[in-house]
Subunit: 230 residues, 2 copies
Amino acid sequence: MDNSRCENCIVRQFNSLRAMNKEELKKVSDSKIRKSVKKGEPLFEEGEKLNGVYCVRAGVSKLSKLSPNGKDQIVKLATKGEVMGQRSVIAEEHSNLSAVAVSDMDVCFIPKESITTTLQKNPNFTLEVLRHMAHELKEADDVIVNMSQKTVKQRIAEAFLYLKNNFGEDNDGFLALTLSREDIANVVGTATESAIRIISEFKKKGLIHTSGKKVGIKDERKLRDLAEGF
Amino acid sequence: MDNSRCENCIVRQFNSLRAMNKEELKKVSDSKIRKSVKKGEPLFEEGEKLNGVYCVRAGVSKLSKLSPNGKDQIVKLATKGEVMGQRSVIAEEHSNLSAVAVSDMDVCFIPKESITTTLQKNPNFTLEVLRHMAHELKEADDVIVNMSQKTVKQRIAEAFLYLKNNFGEDNDGFLALTLSREDIANVVGTATESAIRIISEFKKKGLIHTSGKKVGIKDERKLRDLAEGF
DNA sequence: GTAATACTATGACAATTATCAGCTTTAAAG
DNA sequence: CTTTAAAGCTGATAATTGTCATAGTATTAC
């Protein structure tokens, strides 16, 4: 199976590229550049002008924004099938987020021309992208509500559930995506020490188990109740 | 001037409807329903299935979402020229937000068919809506960062600056849009009492002046410094 | 005009969260 | 292998924010 051709790439099933026609996909495939990105390496930086988008084939990237107080807020985690940088390319603005790999990644860089010309010529594609962005906007609204109305404890509980639902567990029952305590803190918007303290507390209460950086969910029900405020 | 026809409506200049062609606009205009909404009245509720969008001709609406703890988080304020409910109609989902007028409003209800058929037939329109949504998504990201990284004091300072920039001031130097203290608290995601206390503090420090519910900005520079964290 | 009701305001206190310091463990570099 | 740096952890303390109680002040409805 030749999965270096977009036409055959399974990842495409998950994103808006599936609405492209054969010809358009061929163009994308011919112009794309495959890249490996090691854990910790940046894909692009906040304020950078993006000349294309990144289609994630494997691995996970954090999308974050530096706040005036010097802390990094993680706004989103992008994984297999997701396209990063779409927003900036569409709005013709510089990126408002930085992307850094949180695990080894395999991505395809797609020059923006392939995207913008298809946007102008293929209404199905445009509509598909639009639907996707509408969905992302809803998710962003939910994050706003969570961030402003829930306690740090609730947000951390929720973050673990999110990680389980979106990235699954490994064979030993640990969350498949391992984030540093600092990254967890940056996801929920708190100080690293506070995050660590709450993680210890969860462990004591038997909600989770840990091994090094790895975290596993032990009592999903209780964790969920906690996240919802009971 | 006949401004009961969308073709002649100035408001259209500000939103994606400007990308519609004559014929499409005619259809919209023929099917739209003009409504007056009194301050405090709802336009639609969270979870409701929307059969169309609302184009704001005058007045302001808050778009909010109930959090599990029973508090209402205001996610956005929509004003003249903005189209509400677009997201839900496009994603074919129930509304994730409630809309309530915070001042007397004059709106046009546009049945979703006019929107969805145009989305399928006019790529320019779709692209225009897409660009707009991309911009909204960026703004949502900024809100997430502010909510999670800034203190309540900073967020309130920022809210006043936002209100000045987006809705202006009246002849007496007060913010043109007057929100209740509770609404202000719900915008920044804090308890009403905390908001009141901080507003009193700002007044004492000479950053703002108040008269009843009305608030005026006295020292914009200091307010801005505070919001940025100095 | 007055009673009822909602909104604004403030104090006292409790809970949550951040900050700073120091220490231990783990991972990386030479 | 060992030295160095980074990440994880914990305690003490301060700052921020929420909650409850209470009272004054507007607004609204009758």
